[in-house]
């Protein structure tokens, strides 16, 4: 989602994995879109954006405690991309009128219709008659959007075009429009949802971080030291941690995973997006380095990226997400630190002290992981391996340790 003043470019990627013939999405949009306002994007750019901004694990290797040097290595771990299921199934029976096809386009592998409707019943019937399945309860939501003057962007896969183009997956659809509404409609997606849905919002703006104005935007806990074994299972750790945070916030919050001025990052999980990639996502103010016609850039142009992660359901998110762009330029990333102890041989005065500090660190790391994820502390320790015999919990009360009774 790219936004500057009232100009908005929305790129929608989804994780639909069924038959392309079964795929359809219905999205409320604020205006009737012209052919030129619709575009099929490049999935690779979305994947790049995802990798660039994903929560990550940063590894530090302890130096030889008897020597002085440092090593730093960063291991990017990418989560899934924006995933929002929009498939639908159910039946209805009514017949009515009042649906108008404002426009009909074929863009890339998609057949696109822009519909306006007077009545939700009419729209529902029209969708059903034209082979779209409409979930129960959708009518009320459609009615609300119709009343607010929204149009409906309906996309289906054109199988012939898809074969001709040779894509085996569905590419993201992009729409560009001007509207003061800075929001994302969630409610149609919730109608047919079995449980909570996951949504990642990548916002690219000029001035600063994007946040929701009608829900709390919460920074994920970050910067904690976590045990080494998590490296092999970072996505599982991340999911457990995220679920735990969602519960802590009573499932009513939107989470900030990344907020960064794209002109630099340190360390970068993936290379920052190029000017061309940013433009392809809709950052129209970024000058393309290859286009000779553009006026030369005057100073660096800000592109600020915000990555929000929402797990939503109808009960805890009664309204659509409404956003505002803040002037906050401070950087944030959900990053977790893994410190590898020095494994080599050491024979110096400091080695005993170092080993003790590593043991203390392991105790803390286990506790941090248990707090973040809600996992059982004993099983975390088991997985961490090693000797827990000098664990404070097993050594009796602190006064015994103090006086070594």
């Amino acid at each position: 989602m790219v936004r500057d003043a009232d100009r908005t470019v929305l790129t929608m990627a989804n994780d639909y994995s069924g038959e392309p013939a079964q795929f359809a999405i219905v999205i409320p949009v604020p205006t009737v879109l012209q052919r030129g306002q619709i575009h099929v994007g490049d999935r690779a750019v979305m994947e790049h954006l995802d990798a660039y901004s994903a929560p990550r694990l940063v590894e530090y290797f302890d130096p030889d405690p008897c020597m002085r040097y440092e090593a730093l290595q960063s291991a990017p771990m990418s989560q899934g991309m924006a995933r929002k299921s929009a498939d639908s199934r159910n039946e209805a029976r009514e017949r009515s009128l009042g649906v108008r096809i404002e426009a009909r386009y074929t863009v890339g592998e998609y057949d696109i219709l822009i519909l306006s409707a007077k009545q939700s019943g009419g729209l529902e019937t029209w969708l059903l008659e034209n082979g779209y399945s409409v979930p129960a309860g959708a009518r009320r939501v459609l009615a609300s959007y119709i009343r607010q003057g929204m149009k409906f962007f309906v996309a289906k896969v054109n199988l012939g075009e898809q074969q001709r183009l040779g894509f085996s997956y569905l590419r993201p659809i992009q729409v560009a429009y001007e509207s003061p509404k800075f929001m994302l409609p969630l409610r149609l997606g919730m109608v047919n949802a079995d449980g909570p849905q996951e949504l990642f919002v990548f916002a690219i703006t000029k001035n600063g971080r994007v946040e929701t104005t009608n829900y709390r935007t919460v920074r994920l806990p970050e910067g904690m030291d976590i045990p080494e074994y998590v490296k092999d299972d970072f996505p599982r750790f991340y999911r457990a941690m995220f679920t735990r945070q969602v519960e802590n916030e009573n499932r009513e919050a939107v989470f900030l995973e990344y907020a960064w001025n794209m002109s630099w990052c340190d360390p970068c999980a993936a290379d920052p997006l190029s000017a061309d990639e940013l433009r392809s996502l809709g950052a129209f103010w970024v000058a393309s380095p290859n286009s000779g016609g553009n006026p030369p850039q005057t100073g660096p142009q800000t592109t600020f990226i915000t990555r929000l992660h929402v797990r939503y359901d109808a009960r805890h998110f009664p309204e659509d997400l409404v956003f505002q762009e803040t002037a906050d330029q401070s950087n944030f990333q959900a990053r977790y630190v893994m410190r590898h102890p020095w494994k080599g041989e050491g024979s110096c005065d400091g080695i005993g002290e170092y080993r003790r500090s590593v043991r203390e660190r392991r105790v803390k790391e286990a506790e941090t992981l248990a707090t973040l994820t809600g996992w059982d502390l004993a099983s975390i320790r088991r997985k961490m391996g090693g000797d827990w015999s000098d664990d404070p919990d097993k050594q009796g009360p602190w006064w015994d340790r103090m006086w070594k009774n």
Partner: protein
């Protein structure tokens, strides 16, 4: 709770209660909700507000430095103002307090100071922001109780404007939901907002800047709500209530002229023991003060 009316008691200043509630909210916001403000920034805002009040007290030759109102404004800024720049925080605090002394009409300041400070900087396009979503809905009922408690403690000093605002704002949200065929959860979710309570109980209720008559205050609350609704649902912009309050505050002198009423004062002199503490709405004996003399310890929020 009514005190024994036969015995005079020291005047109860409603600002003391406001200071405690706002401090409690700030501690909660910093400690539990992780507001985008550091302790250092909060200290900077509070000390700048107090210092500005002190300097203005000297410049305007007021008889006594009263930190209470400045503290309330400073605390409100801590709860609302967000910026990456310390200099802007200082500027906001100075503008907020100085507005009480500079922007006046017939001896009464026009804007609620915090409202003016925020809207002034937003209007200039300064890189500041206000996060209406920062409160979430979890603490809503505790917050509401604290606010209502204030009304009880203060025996409802000019609380009619708060009630009128909350009723008209609820009518707006529910009316809009009926029109837009939305579920009841939508307007309820919009009403369960800490930002809304802060506004209703600590900003629009500022007895120093609201119209003097009850009819005037109810009219004032209604027009503030109506314009806030236009900003939210017509222009799709954030912080409609803040913009709308600043705009309509400018109409208060006119409302006072059309619907006159007694001027409000925070405390009343001890020599009048028949009414203690805050002035009741029924009080029909306004204390007049020369119009050219600035009000002491003016403001809230």
């Amino acid at each position: 709770m009514r005190a024994d009316s036969s015995r005079p008691r020291p005047p109860l200043d409603p600002r003391m209660y406001q200071i405690s509630v706002l401090s409690g909210l700030l501690i909660y916001g910093l400690g539990w909700l992780h507001f985008d403000i550091t302790l250092g920034r909060a200290a900077l805002l509070l000390s700048t507000a107090l210092l500005t009040q002190y300097v203005c007290t000297k410049l305007w030759r007021l008889p006594k430095f009263d930190p209470k109102s400045a503290l309330i404004s400073g605390l409100s800024l801590c709860l609302l103002l967000r910026t990456n720049f310390a200099a802007l925080a200082v500027l906001a605090a100075v503008v907020t307090i100085a507005s009480k002394f500079l922007v006046r009409w017939k001896g009464k300041h026009i804007f609620n100071p915090t409202n003016f400070g925020l809207v002034f900087l937003m209007f200039l396009g300064a890189p500041i922001w206000v996060s209406p979503g920062q409160w979430g809905n979890v603490a809503f009922f505790g917050f509401l109780m604290a606010c209502l408690g204030g009304l009880v403690v203060n025996r409802a000093a000019r609380s009619d404007v708060t009630y009128a605002f909350l009723v008209s704002f609820a009518a707006l949200q529910f009316g809009r939901a009926v029109w837009a065929m939305q579920r009841w959860e939508v307007p309820i979710h919009r009403m369960e907002s800490g930002a809304l309570l802060l506004f209703a109980f600590f900003m629009i209720s500022d007895p120093k800047t609201t119209p003097n008559s009850r009819a005037g205050r109810i009219l004032f609350a209604a027009v503030v709500t109506a314009f806030a609704g236009f900003i939210q649902f017509g222009l799709y912009r954030t912080n409609g209530i803040l913009w709308s309050l600043a705009l309509w505050s400018m109409a208060v002198p006119l409302i006072d002229r059309l619907l006159p009423g007694p001027r409000y004062e925070w405390t009343r002199p001890r020599q009048k023991p028949q009414t203690q503490g805050v002035i009741d709405e029924a009080d029909t004996s306004p204390r007049h003060r020369p119009l050219d003399q600035p009000a002491l310890g003016s403001t809230s929020a």
